[in-house]
Subunit: 101 residues, 2 copies
Amino acid sequence: MTTAPDPELLELRESIDNFDAALIHLLAERFKCTKRVGELKAVKGLPAADPAREQRQIARLRALAVESKLDPDFAEKFLNFIVREVIRHHEEIKTASAAKP
Amino acid sequence: MTTAPDPELLELRESIDNFDAALIHLLAERFKCTKRVGELKAVKGLPAADPAREQRQIARLRALAVESKLDPDFAEKFLNFIVREVIRHHEEIKTASAAKP
């Protein structure tokens, strides 16, 4: 049992798929930067998390969200989601670097 | 007590901030599309979630992640994170639309 998909729904989904591809590629580039940050922090013995920097990022992203009519709470949740992943990567880099002879 | 920030770290953070602004603006556009999808679904009485579509999206985003050297598990977690928010929006639209006289 299948129903013919709505043409407007199909068109919207094509746009969503394009946005998702763009988001994935931007995230890949962002993680390249944070990987390099993690390496720098490991070499210089800096802590993986930086609460002051994160507070500035949250305030900035909330303002950008308001400007682009995105829910600022969602923007903050999004940043936290990314930062959790970044910290996980940084801890891995630190462990790998500490394990080196 | 402050230490002079590392110039490479500062440069990387500028790039991260640029990527974040781009991500927020793309997400804002993506939510415009899913808002319209939610309205269509509410009008046509379609369910908020669509597991078959989500399976195709996950497979596609995992492939795009591999291509762009992003962790495919992270890409899947990212999509789930976005979809959870979208479903929340859709349920709200449905409730608002059902409450209309």
